[in-house]
């Protein structure tokens, strides 16, 4: 299930600003409270794929350690794609929330 949402997770992690692969993984871990334990290496093919389709940009920089590293950032298209995915996710969450009878979901509100 997590794999199906990997693109959205990566885009969301980059919404706070450009970052290199390791920092993106740390950001995902921080924001999710370590809920997702996916092999770290799977992030890189996803980053490359998102770059190829124009949702991310990247450039080589030199880190504090003096090592060259690839820093990724959201492109305008990437930001739009994230907004779209966020809206889809919101609708999905509301629908499931309604189904499960959670308070605050759109469907639940309509039934009140």
């Amino acid at each position: 299930m997590l794999k199906g949402h990997l693109d959205m997770i990566v885009l969301a992690a980059l919404s706070s600003g450009p970052a290199h692969g390791y920092a993106i993984i740390q950001e995902i871990r921080r924001r999710t409270g370590g809920a997702f334990e996916l092999p770290e290496g799977t992030i890189y093919p996803a980053l490359h794929r998102l770059e190829q389709v124009g949702l991310l940009g990247s450039e080589w920089t030199t880190g504090e350690s003096g090592r060259r590293r690839r820093v990724y950032s959201l492109t305008k298209r990437g930001a739009r794609a994230l907004a779209d995915q966020r809206a889809v996710w919101q609708r999905f969450r509301d629908a499931i929330g309604g189904l499960l009878g959670e308070r605050g979901s759109a469907a639940a509100s309509r039934n009140l």
């Binding site: 794999k3 290199h20 692969g21 390791y22 092999p39 770290e40 290496g41 799977t42 890189y44 093919p45 490359h48 794929r49 190829q52 389709v53 880190g63 350690s65 090592r67 060259r68 590293r69 690839r70």
Partner: protein
């Protein structure tokens, strides 16, 4: 500075798994090296060797990671071949028309024997080009509607094969067109002898041959990459 042995060994394995795409392998190696060193350094209380091994374990199986890259690399490569095929077909068409217009403008006359050869040659040219164009459009539509897979599994391998097969089948009549054009132009120039007016046919023919070579090189490169990736991931 050389990375520690464990990390270096892991990077070597990953690079070997990515051997189907050398520029990609170099880029990934550099990124992963930075990642592993940073991940290992993030646990200062841990013994260095243990921290490196943990970072490697968390990074995952290089074979699986490389398989995801293979899907992307071949997707990019087949799209490139499709684009090159369209450009080459357009280039050849322009070249043929420029040469025809040049002959017409100069009212370049040829002998009756050459006229008979030219008639056959033009028929071959026409039909070969129409066949190439029809298959090319079909191939372009097929490649354009494919989606990038997340791993290089057998169905995706078959899809890549079909894309490359369509490109090869479209390239064959295109090459026949170029060969026919080369023969016709050579015969015409041999008959007319060396003169300044021959410059346009020579240049346009050189262009056509260069286009055909570029297409063959792209197809060959893609096939080699696909075969290498298949041997690595579909055994």
């Amino acid at each position: 500075m050389q990375p520690p042995r464990a990390i270096s060994d892991y990077l070597d394995r990953l690079t070997r798994e990515l051997s189907f795409d050398a520029p990609l392998a170099r880029r990934v190696r550099q990124e992963v090296e930075d990642h592993l060193l940073e991940a290992a350094a993030a646990e200062p209380e841990e013994e260095a060797g243990e921290a490196q091994l943990r970072a490697i374990r968390q990074f995952g199986d290089p074979h699986r990671i490389a398989s995801e890259y293979a899907a992307q690399s071949l997707f990019r490569q087949t799209r490139r071949v499709g684009t090159v095929a369209v450009l080459v077909a357009s280039g050849i068409l322009v070249s043929m028309n420029v040469r025809g217009a040049w002959y017409g403008w100069l009212q370049w006359s040829i002998s009756d024997e050459l006229k008979a050869v030219r008639k056959v040659g033009l028929l071959i040219d026409l039909y070969a080009f129409i066949i190439a164009l029809a298959i090319g459009i079909l191939g372009w539509a097929y490649i354009g509607t494919r989606r990038m897979a997340t791993s290089f599994d057998p169905p995706y391998r078959d899809q890549v094969k079909r894309c490359l097969l369509l490109c090869t089948v479209a390239a064959a009549p295109l090459i026949a067109t170029v060969v026919t054009d080369t023969v016709l132009t050579a015969l015409r120039l041999l008959e007319a002898g060396l003169r300044l007016a021959a410059l346009v046919p020579v240049v346009t023919m050189a262009g056509e041959i260069a286009f055909a070579v570029a297409l063959v090189v792209q197809i060959q490169k893609a096939m080699k990459r696909a075969a290498l990736a298949s041997s690595l991931f579909c055994s």
